[in-house]
């Protein structure tokens, strides 16, 4: 039950993009077309889940027993960078079709603060292993939901008459603000 609540709150209430402001760069950069937004979302969900597992193991099996937790930042970022690299090589061998679909988005994930944020937040909140994994999947799906919604709104925006200075980033941020306001409505769901 607790896990379910955490899962739903990671998707809707504490949405990574609209509540924690993590992963804004891809959220604004890769949200022009629905299908590329979906690929980006799935790639992030995938990497987030693996990062959740690996960062938990590093934190609880190496850093905490040896009192090295001040190395968290350095070790997490290195793990994420090499993980993305490994995942990329693995997907290229295992499923060329998926590799084609995710293609350029995979390397970009290294500098996506949502991934690093996930590892840090899970460590900060001292989640158990199961909770960390649930949090990882939920946050990834929440990111996917937000970026796909954003992309579908932006496809409509292309057809409408936006004042010139607001074009591009300006209107995208204002739309995101209205979305955040709508998502605020979910906050009553989880006590």
């Amino acid at each position: 039950m607790e896990l379910l609540a955490l899962f739903i709150s990671a998707i809707l209430v504490n949405n990574f993009v609209l509540y924690y402001f993590l992963g804004i760069c891809p959220f604004l950069g890769v949200s022009k077309k629905i299908d590329s937004a979906l690929s980006m979302g799935l790639a992030v969900t995938f990497v987030m889940t693996i990062t959740a597992v690996v960062s938990w193991m590093i934190n609880h099996w190496i850093l905490i027993p040896y009192k090295l937790d001040y190395l968290q930042i350095v070790s997490f970022i290195l793990v994420i960078a090499s993980l993305v690299q490994l995942v990329e090589m693995f997907i290229r061998k295992a499923s060329p079709a998926l590799y084609q679909a995710l293609g350029i988005y995979l390397p970009l994930i290294t500098t996506n603060c949502a991934i690093m944020g996930l590892a840090l937040l899970a460590a900060l909140k001292n989640f158990s292993f199961l909770k960390t994994v649930t949090f990882g999947i939920g946050s990834g799906l929440g990111f996917t939901l937000a970026i796909v919604l954003m992309a579908s709104i932006r496809e409509q925006l292309d057809l409408s008459d936006v004042p010139k200075p607001l074009k591009g980033a300006g209107i995208a941020l204002i739309v995101a603000g209205i979305m955040a306001l709508a998502f605020q409505g979910f906050s009553g769901m989880i006590k």
């Binding site: 290195l78 300006g170 204002i174 603000g177 955040a180």
Partner: protein, 203 residues
């Protein structure tokens, strides 16, 4: 690039290449910590510290770093100084460190810092890199100050905790919520673009 004077190198970070309003870099911390001016200032200074020192270090050892592993090396250098900043804040400014939470460690993935290393410090002298980092930092702090100022004044009627609005003023709660951050930044970016277009068409 080489023709630029030192002063121009500094000033470009304030407006022409302002990291937030013009380059749209580092938006995550910009949005996340600007619900109060004090948080914005702390975040700005911590980021400036990391950016300036990393730029100087990268510029001074750029010849030693093989180009294949340069990104990884920059990240390790940046992560080291982020750890220093994080530990320092936790030791001396515990309250601020607590309210900024994971956003201080997240400076490590702030695209402004890595972007400056890749675009500037890896190609320029130590002195120029220092000035460039100083300019970018000033631009970033200014952007945070404007955004957090607007949000705190409209959202709570205060500035740095002091009451600035009269008793008639009803705080706009939306401004300190996430939605207010997005909308304010969107409008500010549009205003920056508008000013740029106006000055360009005049000259």
């Amino acid at each position: 690039m080489a023709a630029k004077s030192i002063a121009q190198e500094y000033l470009k970070g304030l407006w022409d290449e302002n990291p937030v309003f013009r380059q749209l870099l580092g938006l995550c911390p910009t949005l996340a910590v600007t619900n109060a001016v004090i948080n914005g200032i702390a975040m700005g200074l911590a980021t400036s510290f990391v950016l300036i020192i990393s730029s100087v270090v990268v510029a001074s050892i750029k010849k030693l770093i093989p180009s294949q592993v340069r990104i990884a090396s920059y990240i390790v250098i940046i992560a080291t100084f982020v750890t220093v900043a994080d530990r320092f804040l936790a030791a001396y400014f515990f309250q601020i460190s607590k309210s900024l939470g994971p956003y201080i460690p997240l400076i490590v993935v702030n695209c402004i810092i890595l972007g400056r290393q890749e675009a500037f410090s890896s190609k320029n002298s130590v002195g120029r890199s220092f000035v460039d980092a100083l300019g970018m930092s000033t631009g970033f702090v200014l952007a945070l100050l404007v955004l957090s100022g607007i949000r705190e004044i409209l959202g709570m009627g205060t500035f740095l905790g002091y009451q600035v609005m009269g008793a008639w003023f009803k705080p706009w709660i939306i401004m300190i919520l996430p939605a207010g951050a997005f909308i304010t930044l969107g409008i500010l970016i549009a205003v920056a673009l508008l000013i740029e277009q106006k000055t360009k068409s005049r000259s």
